[in-house]
């Protein structure tokens, strides 16, 4: 071992760090070029989680723009149609705390489908222009109707209708959609510490 290393430990440490830093830096730089990703995949992933109602309640013109905004640092709790489950999924994806839904943008509602009272429809096509997913059929002066299976329940067609003939009808449970619900959680409450009893439990 050369004697100067022992004499100048600072220099030696510096050299060692540089010696380590340079190749690793080069490796990282190479990796950045070699494995470059195209576009903004995180926005795509976020977009896949969003409910695609395209309702604009978040303040962005559609789900894709909101996804891009989230990727850019926007709050994740502005999507009422997605509700808690979407916020949770976004929080998991982005590895952040899941905040409660921002009430400013609306409340989580039961899924509904738009229904046009066809007798009252005057055929103005305003709802057709408003529908973000082309789920309304019709033409000028012709009665319109909603393709129920394509309707996202975004509410956007209700406002423009000049004769208020569009209702948002919640989807009823049927024999086909019925299933067992989770058992009422009495003692298996997952919340912990002092306040974890449900109100009903405390009353009991």
């Amino acid at each position: 071992m050369p004697s100067w290393i022992a004499e100048y430990p600072l220099l030696a440490a510096l050299l060692a760090l540089v010696g380590l830093g340079a190749p690793f830096g080069a490796l990282l730089g190479f990796a950045a070029v070699r494995f470059r990703t195209e576009g903004n995949p995180i926005a795509d992933e976020i977009n896949a989680i969003l409910p695609q109602t395209q309702c604009g309640q978040c303040g962005f013109p559609g789900c894709r723009p909101y996804a891009e905004a989230i990727a850019g640092g926007e709050a994740i709790n502005k999507c009422p149609p997605g509700g808690e489950s979407t916020i949770q999924a976004l929080a998991d994806l982005l590895d952040v705390e899941a905040p409660p839904l921002d009430e400013e943008h609306g409340e989580e509602k039961v899924k509904a489908v738009a229904y046009i009272r066809e007798d009252e429809c005057i055929g103005c096509t305003k709802c057709i222009q408003a529908c973000p997913v082309d789920a309304i059929l019709g033409a000028a002066k012709q009665m319109h109707t909603v393709i129920a299976s394509e309707c996202t329940g975004c509410d956007l067609c209700v406002e423009p209708c000049p004769v208020d003939c569009i209702d948002m009808i919640p989807q009823p449970e049927s024999l086909q959609t019925w299933h067992w619900q989770m058992p009422a959680q009495r003692s298996n409450n997952l919340e912990i510490i002092a306040t974890d009893a449900t109100p009903a439990e405390r009353a009991a």
Partner: protein, 574 residues
Amino acid sequence: MRRVHDFHGGIHPAENKHQSLQQPIRNAGIPPQLILPLSQHIGAPARPVVAVGEQVLKGQLIAEPGGHVSVPLHAPTSGMVSAIEDRPIPHPSGFPAPCIVIDCDQEDRWAPLQGVANYRDCEATELLELIRAGGIAGMGGAGFPTAVKLAGKPGRAVKTLIINGTECEPYITADDSLMRERATDIVEGIAILQHILQPQEVLLGLEDNKPEAIAALRAATAGSTIEVVTFPTKYPSGGEKQLIEILTGQQVPSGGLPGDIGIVCQNVGTAVAVRDAICHGRPLLSRITTVTGDAVEAPQNFEVLLGTPMQYLLELAGLHPERCKRLVMGGPMMGFTVTTVQAPIVKTTNCILAPTAAELPPPPPAQPCIRCGLCAEACPASLLPQQLFWFAQGKEFEKLEQHKLFDCIECGACSWVCPSHIPLVQYYRASKADILEQRREHAKSEQARQRFEARQVRLAQEEEEREAKRAARKAAAEKRAELAAQGDAEDPIQAAIERAKAKKAAQQDGQPVAASVSPEAALRQKLAKAEQRLAQSVASGEDAKIVSALEASVERLKGKLAEAESAATESGAT
């Protein structure tokens, strides 16, 4: 002796089968009214082919299959169709569903039946069509259309035909009594299935707790290629997947069907129904149903017409309504509660269980899971129920799928052993439904996204087109303005024509051009000439440039003419 295999887990609940085996199968007779749900099977509901008020005969088709995976429905007795409407059906939801209601005339008049004299002369496809027309769906409890199951996937040979006589659920003895009393019918039915499937081996599996049935079947199968295999009693050995493992040592691949490993399973009741349909042309009109539980006076097996209200049957067995707080269709392990006795017996009703509260006490409140692992020991699918429960509580769907939630057969063994009385199966059912719903939602949102994006593209395109048109119009207008500003002289052809015309006119009239002729007339003349020239050039196929220039000049002249005319009329008016 065939070596039988064991499957993982399993439990030994109290059998409680002796109560309903005291008497032979009893005919339940004809109730005043039959209620026939259009969907008594897995698949599309049947479509009614009768109208309200129509008289029907026993065995007459009253609803046709609603799709490929569907079965028809026949009138179980003669009478009049009094309604086609929503009625309570045996379903855990308690929701009503469309039913055909028949008011029975008690005469039991048959429609003409046409059996096959010798099924061995028939092609398999013919027999399958007869089975389908007979309205037969799996009688074991699931109710999958039998013809569809037998047809399998084309080109796949069936190695083993398994006939399921296990009946591992406590209380139920419908198959047991059928095997005791109608062993020869079963064997005939199996022979038909054999003829259809051409399997290498036929195994009739049943638990060793049914000695009479075993003896009867051994006697009936003597000399045939059917092998009666018995194995130790353990719940749920009658589950299709478990029975396959017991008899063959093979496991059905996850998400696959027994057909994938060359196996077809059929219930003994189904075999009898197939025999009736083929040999006698008799469609599925009745079935054997066990009515049992401490709340009925005389537990026993009934041969009962499909559509018979449960109330009628329970009263025949001597129900004490005050003792009965829960009514189960099926067994105590996998059956579901029925909330009204008005619900009818359907093709899959193997048992009506009317227990007292002492017999099957209401579930006590659940205690916390202590991860004792009894459930994992009992699980016939080798799952980790306690982990699944944990994830189900937290709605961690991804973890649930990782832990193979969808391989759960909902047999209830885990709940049965759970010392904390946790309704595990309910957690799994709810989680499965939630996951499926999430998948559906996701598919729907994906479609919405595509539609939204398609719309965006379309709007952008329309906008672009509009923009393009606007730009084109603007360009044309500019060009016109330019031309107008520079005057006709710019156009050499036009200028030449003008000059020539002017000269000619001067020669003809000998007068100055402008003074004598009114401006409109001159323009009209010019226009006529220009049009003539244009027609000539188009006809002789001149250069496109010239043609377009001529067209432009014609247009211009028309414009000028219109202007001049309007000016003239104006001046005339003033």
